[in-house]
């Protein structure tokens, strides 16, 4: 017999049928089947439950009426809520960013020289850049805490340097950009020398092997000059030490 309303899956029904083995009433069967055959999602469960209740009394009732207006209103509400959250998030982010910027500016200010000194520097640079340097002391900006005289250094005026600023604390302001470039070149030069003398392709050996060559050729052969390799398994030894310490602590704890 073809059923007008689609029933739930037959599996629970058959199981029930197996259990009960016999004559379930049609209503009970319907109940059980519906109950058992309900899908797990809660949203769908509700109407079905209602349905089920309603089913008992009013078999052929039409579903609830949802007006278009209410649905529209709901949708608009949703939209508004979403927009609000987005706006809130944006403002929060902005605030955070502003605060961070301020913090950075504060830190930078702290790092820089005090304003007075900077003023002096800029004014002094205008006047002194053309003057022939008399007694000039040079200290890098990074080392401004050290006030020591480093002898008379006279520099070419080509480079953007500021001569002595004040009488007691005499130092020279050097552009860090120049210094970095100079350092980089010096590093590159040293790397070149190291590479060409000790780099790959050179035939170098360790000092230990070098000094032990003589020991190898003696009539009574002797061990190498540095026989033990203390650098072997450093990580392992460290781990072992740490483990031992922890183990001891644990032992002490359990003993107590």
């Amino acid at each position: 017999m073809v059923q007008l309303r689609p029933r739930a899956s037959r599996a629970p029904v058959s199981a029930e049928a197996m259990v009960d083995e016999g004559q379930p009433a049609s209503e009970e069967e319907a109940e059980h089947g519906l109950l058992l055959g309900q899908p797990s999602s809660g949203a769908a469960a509700e109407p079905l439950e209602e349905d089920e209740e309603g089913d008992e009394e009013f078999d052929n009732e039409a579903p609830e009426e949802l007006t278009f207006a209410s649905a529209q209103a709901e949708a608009r509400e949703e939209e508004r809520r979403v927009r609000e959250t987005v706006r809130r998030d944006k403002t929060l982010l902005k605030e955070k960013r502003k605060r961070r910027e301020e913090l950075f500016i504060e830190q930078k200010k702290r790092k820089l020289l005090p304003d007075t000194v900077l003023e002096k520097l800029t004014t002094a640079s205008q006047t002194n850049i053309k003057k022939s340097p008399g007694k000039v002391k040079e200290v890098n900006l990074q080392k401004k805490n050290e006030d020591c005289e480093k002898g008379n250094d006279s520099k070419k005026v080509k480079v953007q340097k500021v001569q002595s600023v004040s009488q007691n604390k005499s130092y020279l302001a050097v552009r860090l950009k120049d210094q970095d470039l100079r350092e980089a070149r010096q590093q590159a030069a040293q790397a070149f020398i190291h590479n060409s003398l000790y780099g790959p392709g050179t035939n170098r050996t360790t000092v230990n092997k070098f000094l032990s060559l003589a020991n190898k050729r003696l009539p009574v052969k002797r061990a190498a000059v540095q026989f033990l390799n203390n650098a072997w398994g450093i990580q392992k030894k460290q781990n072992a030490k740490r483990f031992k310490r922890r183990w001891m602590v644990r032992k002490m704890k359990t003993k107590k």
């Binding site: 050290e146 020591c148 005289e149 480093k150 002898g151 008379n152 250094d153 006279s154 520099k155 070419k156 080509k158 480079v159 100079r182 070149r185 010096q186 590159a188 030069a189 040293q190 070149f192 060409s196 003398l197 000790y198 392709g201 050179t202 035939n203 170098r204 050996t205 360790t206 000092v207 092997k209 070098f210 000094l211 060559l213 190898k216 050729r217 000059v225 540095q226």
Partner: protein
């Protein structure tokens, strides 16, 4: 370990128990030698090391190191040269040309060459111009003016860095060695006349670039080049072609120096071998000559980065920090003991100071100081025994200096409560307090303005006075008391010249102070009355003794001693004894005993078999002991004890960079 010596009561006065202070590992001693420059006029040698120190040795005064300029962390010298007589210039990887003031012992000025790191420098044969080879491939010409140098012009810029330079003796051409090629420039026009390509491997192909470490230009137009493939090549600069090629090593040949007469030159290799090449006639009576490799010398274990050729000897220095001077037999006129090999390992200035009362030793390194307490022993034994220590040496203090400059000099007071040291720009004074085996250090701040940089520091015997020889030539006396100090007096240099004081010595009773300046005069100051005497006190003491010395003459072996005396100290209770030492031996001169004549044995055997016998027959004033071989420092601790610090050479070698691998049969 400690060794026991003779009993002090015996007339031999060898000195009693001496303790051997063994040094533990650290960056000790000198740094590797990077450049050497020989000055023909004054027979002096300038040596620069990798830590920036520059030392000047006087080769005619028994190879004594007379002056030195302290190092600096940022100064890595790559080239050193004398110009215009007595002016010394150096150039390094920081791109600056530095001139040294040899009278005031400081740096006159540093001029930036604006070409990047400088790799090589050469002075023109006319001594008025300076040529500099830079990292960016440019060769710059500087004019030497009476007080500075001035940039003149640039030569044609090359593709890779200029690693070596050499002037033609006439000053018209220069040869510049670079990577994989050598260029010959014409000085007047500044343009490159020839570009000679160097093979990467002797008759073969190699992936590694061939670095031309050294070039030399001879007056007949031959250019000699040494490169990293181990070749010495002869080029003809007129045609720009290779004439002859010698493969002399499996490793780099790193330096070359030609004699003034151009009949011999010397090259140094990375294996530590130094080869001597000579121009010899082809057959015994032909006029045609050719260059032949005559002598190999193996005095170094590591790379020989620099060589120099003086009229009578070959000088080489390298990574193993030794400076080796090998006189050539055929050039030496008088064949005496002077013509032996000299190997200078330890610096000739004092790096260790001793506090007698508390048995402390202060060791000076380049950037820090270490304070050790000596171990002690209660055992006794006979002469020549090594006694076991009952208490080991203690490392008390590790004091690191701020800033990039090296420490010039340091001293600890005899009572052990003051430590003073000085760098090129600052002076530090510390007060030590000892409480129950603990030590605490307090810095005395606010140094007076005149105490900027000191060349020598010395404490008086009773530790109340500090003598400082500043680099302006003045000698300051500072009174120390409690935790503070007070400036007592400053002896200004005489005759107004700025003369830097090099050596200081104070008499035990604190009344006399002797100082010697760079011009080798000795001034004696009376500290009590603050007046200056000249030679008076030593004269009075030594007149009688020295008169007899003049009469007898020194024993011939004594005169032939090839290493200079590094330290002299006196026994306060026995004014007749003088204790001196150098790198190989220490000696006690007993003025009361007769002087030896040439016939007697100078070096007493040790230990003697029959004391009385030896005493009778060979009793003379010089008691020499050679038991401590590489002796760095020796001083008298108290009545019966000497302290000697040895620095075994193996320890030094153990800390050096890797040497070239040598394949020996059977290993």
């Amino acid at each position: 370990r400690s060794t026991s010596g003779a009993k002090p009561e015996s007339a031999r006065a060898r000195g009693a128990r001496s303790e051997r202070g063994e040094r533990r590992e650290g960056e000790r001693g000198a740094a590797a030698i990077r450049c050497v420059a020989y000055n023909n006029q004054s027979n002096r040698l300038a040596v620069s090391r990798t830590d920036g120190t520059v030392e000047i040795y006087n080769l005619s005064a028994n190879y004594f190191q007379e002056k030195f300029f302290p190092g600096h962390e940022s100064r890595a010298t790559e080239a050193l040269c004398w110009a215009e007589g007595q002016r010394l210039f150096s150039a390094g990887l920081n791109g600056e040309i530095i001139e040294y003031d040899l009278q005031a012992l400081n740096i006159k000025y540093a001029m930036d060459a604006f070409g990047g790191p400088i790799w090589s420098m050469a002075a023109s044969p006319s001594d008025s111009q300076l040529l500099v080879g830079c990292e960016d491939g440019s060769v710059k010409l500087f004019q030497i003016t009476p007080d500075k140098i001035q940039f003149e012009r640039n030569f044609d810029r090359q593709k890779s860095r200029i690693l070596s330079l050499s002037w033609h003796p006439s000053g018209t051409h220069i040869a510049a060695g670079s990577i994989d090629y050598i260029s010959v420039f014409d000085v007047k026009s500044g343009s490159a006349v020839h570009k000679m390509i160097v093979d990467r491997q002797y008759m073969g192909v190699s992936k590694r670039k061939c670095i031309v470490w050294g070039v030399a230009f001879l007056s007949d137009g031959t250019v000699i080049s040494v490169d990293s493939a181990g070749k010495v090549q002869f080029w003809d600069s007129a045609t720009g072609t290779l004439v002859k090629s010698h493969l002399i090593a499996n490793a780099d040949v790193q330096s070359i120096a030609v004699a003034n007469q151009e009949d011999s030159f010397v090259v140094g290799t990375a294996e530590g071998t130094v080869f001597h090449f000579q121009l010899v006639p082809v057959t015994s009576n032909s006029s045609e000559k050719q260059w032949v490799r005559t002598k190999p010398f193996q005095h170094h274990t590591h790379d020989v980065r620099t060589v120099a050729h003086s009229p009578t000897s070959l000088i080489s220095g390298g990574t193993d920090t030794h400076l080796v001077i090998r006189p050539l037999m055929e050039k030496v006129e008088v064949k005496n003991y002077d013509a032996a090999l000299r190997k200078i390992t330890f610096p000739h200035r004092r790096l260790i100071s001793c506090s007698r009362k508390r048995h402390l030793l202060l060791f000076q390194f380049a950037h820090h100081l270490e304070l050790w307490r000596l171990g002690s022993t209660v055992a006794t034994g006979k002469n020549g025994d090594t006694l076991p220590l009952s208490k080991n040496a203690d490392h008390l203090l590790y004091l690191k200096t701020k800033g990039p400059e090296n420490i010039i000099c340091s001293c600890i007071s005899p009572c052990g409560s003051w430590i003073a040291y000085s760098t090129a720009s600052r002076f530090f004074l510390y007060r030590l307090n000892y409480e129950h085996d603990n030590i605490n250090l307090k810095r005395v701040s606010k140094m007076p303005a005149f105490l900027r940089s000191a060349l020598q520091i010395l404490f008086s015997e009773d530790s109340t006075k500090l003598f400082v020889a500043s680099n302006q030539g003045a000698l300051h006396i500072v009174q120390l008391s409690g935790g503070s100090f007070k400036h007592l007096h400053a002896f200004q240099p005489q005759s107004g010249t700025v003369e830097a004081m090099c050596l200081l010595a104070v008499s035990p009773d604190g009344n006399w102070l002797a100082a010697s300046g760079t011009s080798a005069g000795v001034h004696v100051y009376n500290v009590k009355q603050l007046k200056v005497f000249e030679y008076s006190i030593p004269d009075k003491h030594y007149t009688d003794w020295s008169r007899t010395v003049q009469k007898h003459g020194f024993h011939h072996l004594w005169l032939q001693r090839d290493t200079p005396i590094t330290h002299i100290s006196f026994h306060p209770k026995r004014p007749m004894h003088i204790l001196l030492h150098d790198a190989y031996m220490f000696c006690i001169i007993d003025k009361s005993l007769p002087l030896p004549n040439d016939k007697t044995l100078l070096y007493n055997p040790f230990p003697p078999t029959n004391e009385s016998d030896v005493q009778r027959r060979t009793a003379h004033a010089f008691k020499i002991s050679k038991i401590y071989k590489p002796l760095l420092f020796m001083d008298l601790l108290d009545e019966r004890t000497l302290v000697a610090v040895e620095r075994p050479l193996d320890d030094i070698i153990a800390q050096l960079p890797p040497p070239i691998k040598k394949k020996k049969f059977g290993t």
